[in-house]
């Protein structure tokens, strides 16, 4: 299978929990440097898809290549090359900002010099240098989110997974966040993101809409709006949800 050039390529990727099929034979492709959005209601299968692609969950069937690694057979090998930030911003509350970055960098096995350099770089990039010695539990939600993103990027991953990264964040912080994501994509990092916020979908290069474990529409925001004759992605989403979608 020619997978080298794709950031993600799946073929009939499936995951069942008992009788329930969470993800149902999903096939899609994400190019390198793309910001790819996964939309869908709660329970549509977005998070299950991401957990399979990050090697957290074994697929029940089908195949998935992530940055060239077959995660269906070698889930551990993909881990050094991807970053992951979940909706919960999993950080150590009782460590400082700098200590969190050091720890996650350390866990990826970065040598000391590289780690120190990368930490300073990220603190600067995310405007956290002044808060470096602040305990994480004392940070505002927006700052915590930026620290979580910085921690996910400490090892320079080729591909970044964001699972509902902007929950509980004020609109200004959200816009700053998306500006950073755009910057990452320009530098060649592929980003796969799930979100509830339809206005955020506009920031993605391409979108896939999931319903009942299946992808029911794929395309750029503009193409999708045109196809469904809608003014916004929200209208597209509602149209798909009410018509019962395609596929």
């Amino acid at each position: 299978m020619p997978v080298e050039e794709a950031a993600i390529q799946t073929r009939t990727l499936t995951r069942t929990f008992g009788r329930f099929t969470a993800v149902d034979a999903v096939s899609f492709r994400v190019e390198r440097g793309e910001v790819f959005g996964l939309l869908g209601a709660n329970g549509a299968g977005k998070t299950t898809t991401i957990r399979m692609l990050t090697g957290l969950l074994r697929p029940s069937g089908g195949e998935a290549w992530v940055v060239g690694v077959p995660v269906h057979s070698a889930p551990e090998s993909v881990k050094p090359r991807i970053g992951y930030m979940s909706q919960k911003f999993s950080l150590y509350e009782d460590l400082t900002v700098a200590e969190n970055l050091t720890f996650f960098g350390g866990v990826y096995g970065l040598p000391r010099r590289v780690l120190a350099h990368r930490r300073a770089e990220l603190l600067d990039l995310f405007d956290l240098t002044e808060l470096a010695n602040r305990l994480t539990s004392q940070l505002a939600a927006g700052h915590r989110q930026r620290l979580a993103l910085a921690s996910a990027l400490i090892h320079r991953p080729q591909l970044l997974f964001l699972d509902e990264p902007t929950g509980g964040i004020d609109p200004i912080s959200r816009r700053t966040f998306w500006r950073m994501i755009a910057g990452l994509a320009e530098e060649g990092t592929t980003v796969m993101v799930t979100t509830h916020y339809m206005d955020e979908a506009e920031y993605c290069h391409r979108l896939a809409v999931m319903r009942d474990g299946r992808i029911v529409a794929v395309g750029s925001p503009r193409d999708l709006r045109r196809e469904y004759n809608a003014a916004t992605i929200e209208e597209v989403f509602l149209a798909i949800a009410s018509t019962g979608g395609g596929s």
Binding site: L56, E76, Y84, S90, L91, Y92, F103, V107
Partner: protein
Amino acid sequence: MLRSLRIIGHVFRKEILQVVRDRQMLRMILIMPILQVILLGYAVTIDVKYLPLGVVDYDHSPESRRLIEDFRHNETFDLRGRLAGPGAVREALDSGRISAVLIIPAGFASSLGRAEPVSVQMLMDGVDSNASLIAAAHARGIVESYGLSLVRERLAGRQLPDLRPRVTVFYNPELASRFYMVPGIVVILLTMLTSLVTGIGLVREREAGTLEQLSVTPIRTVQLLLGKILPFVLIAYFVLAIAISVCLFWFGVPMRGSWGLLAIFSFLFLFNTLGLGLLVSTIARSQQQALFMTWFTLIFGIMMSGLFFPIENMPPIMQQLTYINPLRYFLAVVRELFLKGSGVGAFRLETAGLMMLGPLALLLAGLRFRKRAR
């Protein structure tokens, strides 16, 4: 290899930072061992002393008063006073004001004078069966030696056989149960600290979601678990040093064995408790569950360790069960090291037990621990 050590080092450093940040926890780690060993060292004793005693004397003779005096001068009993009759006896026992009653019948002195058989009655509160058993034996001894002294007086001037046992007690000549209990309390302290802290530590990470964050990194299970365990090995030695200092300098418990052996056996034992903690954390879904499971296991482990109840007195099946109890082995080692100064040759069974159970617990924990994809 070097890279692996570096990763373990980062987890280690993080754990230490988290412990140091938690002031309350740090204070507990420092002060708890001292307080616990001192307080429990006084409280946990199986010596029976000053058992409250009541007396009913129906005879009012010089002989009955002499017997009562003998009881007064024995420190097993504390003579609280005279009781009028059966009603008062019952009331005093029921209310718990006294735990033993000596009843001397009317005609006690005259029966003794006529060399007729006569008995005095002892009533015991058997709720604490162990204490009453010991006290009853002491009471028998007092009454019998009083009787013997009467015989000697009656046969004064005659040649009498005089047979007495001469008991020499080794290792704990004063038979102080404190010397026996205090090192045991140190063992329990170490067990509680290490198993609870590790068990809760990993569950806390699961609850906070940081465990999932770690699951998407390339860290290996072994690296993570070692990094989480080793800081607590260090802390455990620290606590052990504090607690043993209290043993030696506060209670004057002698240390006759080798410090090196104690350190080595502590290390073997720590892998058992830390392994248990980790195993619990792979099963428990919440910190409460982890706490409950660890408690349950520990109570079993402590009760079946031989600290409070000798293992030889247990039914055979329960005795067999104690072979899977690491506390049993470590307790034996600590006691023998302190009081006897035994060498490593005396601990073959203990060495084997600790070396098998610890790695087994760790192995099970490692197998159950789900870092990899499900």
